[in-house]
Amino acid sequence: MNFDQNTLIMIAIVAMIIATIVKTLLDVYRRPKEPVTVVKTLLKCIECDYIQEVDYQQGDFIGLLKGKCPKCSSSLRVRGIYAIELKE
């Protein structure tokens, strides 16, 4: 197919207009992706250096005594609660 110069310019302009409309509509509908996070509870033994990271459970708070240390059987205390971003 042979196109003259005018037709090519016309096709280019129409393509640009369509691309602009599509981009505008995409901008309207596209939502930014939110990173998926998971909340962890960091437990530390009150006597030895044992540290364990477990999934956060409702009711956890920093300072809470929760469970027993598998190394020395002392209590474990919640030392930190934090969110970690999951990599896709």
Binding site: D4, N6, Q58, F61, I62, L64, A83
Partner: protein, 365 residues
């Protein structure tokens, strides 16, 4: 040849159409319609945040045995506080403090009446959640007001300004909506770093006494051979306490015989700075509307007590959303930083006050 003349007609028609559109301002109206469409779609998202946050609070209230929570929340969702008169500065802090305390008391009373059998902890979480829902509801109403006003007055400048600001507004709305989850489930947020530093200092020191005054914990301890008073909001509920008032009263109790005051808080970072950067300075690191900050400044200035500040930097989203691991690690580093500040700036047996500022949700003492 026939093809070429047909294209010429189309070309001319296009240029005439564009010319007429520019002369009559039709292009601007089309642009405005696109902006309005975009703003309205974003406004729908904000409305869904506002409605969902309200529904979550109503659901939580119902689970705790509240009667007719829909009616009660509908009554309080538009709750507001009017700023004091600023053109007359005399007593402005006293008047502002009075308004803030009245607001706080009104919301507390509302939940006490609504949930007479619930504990202070559950009520504090719902108080903060209601504040988040109030912000989202207000944000929705303000954006709706401007879009309707712009349409009514055919004011494309207003619509354009709104359109340009919408990405930032959407970020703020999404941040508040995410904060709701943290407050309802009592997870520490970014703003809790000050409280975490205070908690960790308490954990590492030899505690001598503990008391709670005005929703604020005061822990007297021995740390690095110094007498240290550690102040933080009473946790683990959602609460910021009255650290300024409590610190000021403590300074007065000791007739100003305090060798050093350190405040630790979260601070908004500048673009380009990393989340969790720690900066040291002087002054009161506290982001309250005024009364608590001025109480610290007045007390330390009255007795010439050095006032040091330590801030952990983060953006608004990180401050309100569940605490990120990087910020938790920064709080751990800040504990050592505070200890170093105490040792470097005071002699043994000195008396020091450390105030961990911020919301203590999910952090005990």
């Amino acid at each position: 040849m026939a093809d070429s003349s047909w294209l010429d007609y189309v070309w001319q028609l296009m240029f005439i159409t564009f010319f007429i559109m520019i002369i009559t301002g039709t292009n601007q109206r089309i642009q405005m319609k696109i902006w309005i469409y975009d703003i309205r779609s974003k406004l729908n998202v904000i409305r869904s945040y506002a409605e969902s946050s309200r529904a979550k609070i109503i659901d939580a209230l119902r689970k705790l045995g509240a009667r007719d929570p829909e009616y009660s929340i509908a009554k309080y969702i538009d709750f507001f506080a009017i700023s004091p008169v600023e053109i007359e500065p005399i007593d402005i802090i006293k008047r502002l403090d009075h308004i803030l305390r009245t607001e706080e008391r009104a919301i507390k009373n509302f939940f006490e009446k609504l949930l007479p059998n619930a504990g202070k902890y559950e009520r504090s979480l719902l108080e903060s959640s209601l504040e988040v829902a109030i912000v989202l509801n207000y944000l929705y109403k303000v954006i709706r007001h401007y879009i309707l006003l712009g349409e009514k007055q055919n004011n494309w400048v207003l619509i354009m300004q709104l359109q340009l600001q919408m990405p930032e507004i959407m970020k703020v709305a999404a941040t508040y909506y995410k904060a709701l989850d943290a407050f309802m489930s009592a997870k520490p947020v970014g703003d809790s770093v000050g409280a975490i530093v205070a908690y960790r200092l308490i954990e590492e020191s030899n505690v001598l006494s503990r008391k709670i005054v005005e929703d604020t914990a005061i822990v007297e301890a021995r740390l690095a051979s110094r007498r240290v008073f550690i102040i933080k909001a009473e946790g683990p509920g959602s609460n910021v306490g009255k650290p300024g008032k409590v610190l000021s009263d403590l300074v007065e109790e000791f007739n100003g015989n305090i060798d050093l005051v350190i405040t630790v808080d979260a601070a908004l970072k500048l673009e380009g700075e990393e989340d969790g950067e720690i900066s040291e300075g002087v002054g009161a690191a506290i982001g309250d509307p005024g009364p608590e900050k001025i109480a610290i400044e007045r007390a330390t200035a009255k007795y010439n007590i050095p006032l040091r500040a330590l801030v952990i930097k983060m953006d608004l989203a990180s401050a309100l959303k569940p605490l990120k691991k990087e910020l938790y690690e920064a709080a751990e580093r800040a504990v050592d930083y505070v200890k170093r500040l105490i040792v470097e700036n005071t002699l043994e047996n000195a008396t020091v006050i450390v105030a961990g500022i911020g919301n203590t949700v999910g952090v005990a003492q």
